[in-house]
């Protein structure tokens, strides 16, 4: 169990998916309910690992700080975005290290990002609505060489689903189902 990942099982899963691609299809879903003001509650839906259903009974809340008309009851959506990005990079980094036989002692990723709310507000400037850039530093201690860690960093980003979703255009399609109430 190097890095607490069973390498043999990881290898067996990779080779299973290689022979049976259906086992590699992961389907996820969440539901978000507005609670109050800027606060909303997210619940995970059951996911599919290949054709097999897995219960995912997790909930968390997002909120904005009071300065942004919220109550600061939870991380805000930008922090959750960075968390989803960084946690995915972390899985890729650790799994990749394990596959190479690198023993890790600690890994920490430090993220920073600045965005200009004028985009959100619609003020007539050239400010982008989203993050124009995201910066991070990976601090790693382990028995790999600096060159190995540099190469592992490159591969972790190249194979991280969330990193690749962020850096590549992704189609966002949605619809709205509305019901008008008599007031």
């Amino acid at each position: 169990m190097r890095n607490n990942i069973p390498t043999a099982a990881l290898s067996e899963f990779v080779n299973e998916v290689s022979g049976n691609p259906e086992e590699g299809l992961m389907s996820y879903g969440i539901e978000i309910d507005w609670e109050s003001g800027t606060r909303a509650r997210t619940s995970t839906k059951p996911m599919l690992v290949g054709p097999h259903k897995v219960s995912r009974s997790f909930t968390w809340k997002a909120d904005e700080p009071r300065q942004l008309m919220g109550n600061n009851h939870g991380p805000n959506p930008q922090e959750l975005l960075l968390s989803g990005l960084g946690s995915c990079m972390m899985v890729a980094f650790v799994a990749g290290a394990t596959a190479e036989g690198i023993q890790l002692e600690s890994v920490k990723i430090d993220f920073d990002g600045t965005l200009d709310l004028r985009g959100f507000m619609g003020l007539g400037t050239n400010a982008t609505v989203g993050f124009p850039e995201i910066n991070y530093v990976i601090n790693v201690v382990g028995d790999g060489t600096p060159e190995q860690f540099e190469e592992l960093h490159r591969k972790a980003i190249a194979h991280s689903p969330n990193a690749q979703t962020i850096v590549n255009p992704v189609s966002l399609t949605g619809e709205i189902v509305s019901k008008q109430i008599d007031d």
Binding site: M1, R2, I5, P6, T7, A8, A9, L10, S11, E12, V14, N15, E16, S18, K45, P46, L48, P51, H52, K53, V54, S55, R56, S57, F58, A95, G96, A99, E100, G101, Q148, E151, K155, H159
Partner: protein, 438 residues
């Protein structure tokens, strides 16, 4: 004779390391085992498998049969160091809580008999069931299971599941529509018994397989009442088979054990639960179970022969209201039994006239069957659900699951049919005379 040391399954190797490589470069693939990949017996008959599969003569002395490896631990070696950190400790001899050659021998035999890629033995059927179920469910999970489950399994779902934040809906195993309707978004598992106790329903396993596949669920069945000569549920598409090996598999009413059989992928997911929850089978009990299994096929034939003869006799006796034996045309599931069961078993349930009091008197007049719970032993065992397995239920609750007054649960052993028939004839006539009835 050979002095070649065995450190485990030599065919199981770590993935080769590719410095600078990625996950796709890992080259270890899953295979049957431990040991099974190297000893295929698929084309052989049930008795040949029962005798030879998994049984390995002592390599040092040539002693025939698997030695009893009565040890807690094993001398470490280059071949075993590293197997835990590489994640294939299940394929090496390290410590008996992880695995032991006596356990492996019986696991190889049971996997071969069930047509499974892998098997794990446990210190009881409930240890096997708990580990298998808990390996396949996650936080917040829901299970759909049979409403007339074995009491121990019922307690797992009723007493333990809520404490773990999980839930189960129990449904009549005959009601396929209700089973499907009970599936919730968080349902992960269907859990049923192939033949139920005590009314011996033969459950429509192919229909359950169909539901499980359509809803992306796993299906686990307890086939204690239908050992491999009778039914091989994995061939029907079930994901995992569990047994109380204390019953037909061991067959001699002299040990407590359990087993899980299935694909290597799922059994490897159960192995960490075996380690975490405990419940390993002691090497001596593993030896006894392996020895008992060698006669499984011929024992089942003897059980069936005596049970069929006795059930046929009971059906004709005026003091008996009704007999439930799946191989008799009178059983409500007879057609399905003929489809799903390769042979009958020793379990016969019948209802005597005069209700539970008459049944109690019957037991007192019988000489051969032992008044005891359990089943599948070479000796006939007899008990009454109303004061044993279903004693905590009301008469109405019992009737709802088919246990009407006078219900007798009989596990026919391998005694000669004529002796059993004579014993039952005598006892039934005795209680009839006492009642003064015809």
């Amino acid at each position: 004779m050979s002095n070649k040391p065995l450190y485990g399954d030599a065919t199981s190797k770590p993935s080769t390391r590719n410095v600078g490589g990625w996950i796709k470069d890992l080259d270890r693939s899953r295979r049957a085992g431990p040991y099974l990949a190297a000893h295929p017996m698929d084309n052989m008959g049930m008795s040949t498998k029962a005798v030879h599969a998994g049984t390995h003569d002592d390599p040092r002395t040539g002693a025939v049969g698997t030695p009893i490896y009565q040890t807690s631990t094993f001398i470490l070696h280059e071949e075993t160091y590293g197997s835990i950190e590489e994640g294939f400790g299940r394929d090496r001899f390290i410590y008996t809580r992880y695995g032991n050659p006596s356990q492996w021998a019986v696991q190889e035999k049971l996997a071969t008999l069930e047509g499974a890629e892998s098997a794990l033995v446990f210190s009881s059927g409930m240890a096997a069931i708990s580990a298998a179920v808990l390996a396949l469910v996650d936080k917040g999970a829901h299970v759909v299971a049979a409403s007339d489950l074995y009491g121990g399994t019922y307690n797992l779902f009723n007493q333990e599941f809520p404490s773990l934040g999980m839930s189960a809906t129990l449904v009549d195993s005959y009601d396929i529509d209700a089973i499907e309707a009970a599936i919730q978004p968080n349902t992960q598992l269907l859990y049923f018994e192939t033949i139920t106790n005590p009314v011996l329903k033969v459950v429509d396993i192919p229909a359950l397989v169909d539901i499980a596949r359509r809803h992306n669920l796993r299906l686990v069945v307890d086939s204690t009442f239908a050992p491999p000569p009778v039914m091989k549920p994995l061939e029907l598409g079930v994901d995992l088979v569990v047994h109380s090996a204390s019953k037909y598999l061991n067959g001699h009413s002299d040990l407590i054990a359990g087993v899980v059989c299935g694909p290597r992928k799922l059994v490897d997911m159960i192995w960490p639960r075996l380690l975490n929850y405990g419940g390993q089978l002691d090497p001596h009990a593993a030896f006894l179970l392996e020895r008992g299994l060698k006669t499984l096929d011929i024992r089942m034939r003897a059980h069936e022969q005596s049970a069929m003869a006795l059930a046929t006799f009971l059906e004709t006796h005026p003091s008996v209201d009704n007999v439930l034996y799946p191989m008799l045309p009178s059983h409500p599931d007879h057609i399905r039994a003929k489809e799903l069961m390769k042979m009958g078993t020793g379990n016969v349930t019948f209802f005597v006239k005069g209700g539970d009091q008459a049944a109690l008197r019957l037991l007192d007049h019988l000489h051969l069957p032992k008044q005891a719970t359990s089943l599948g032993g070479i000796e006939s065992l007899i008990s009454l659900p109303f004061n044993s397995s279903q004693a905590t239920m009301t008469a109405r609750q019992r009737a709802d699951i088919g246990i009407h007054p006078g219900c007798v649960r009989l596990s026919v052993g391998i005694e000669d049919a004529n002796d059993l028939i004579a014993d039952f004839d005598h006892a039934l006539n005795a209680i009839t005379d006492m009642k003064g009835a015809a």
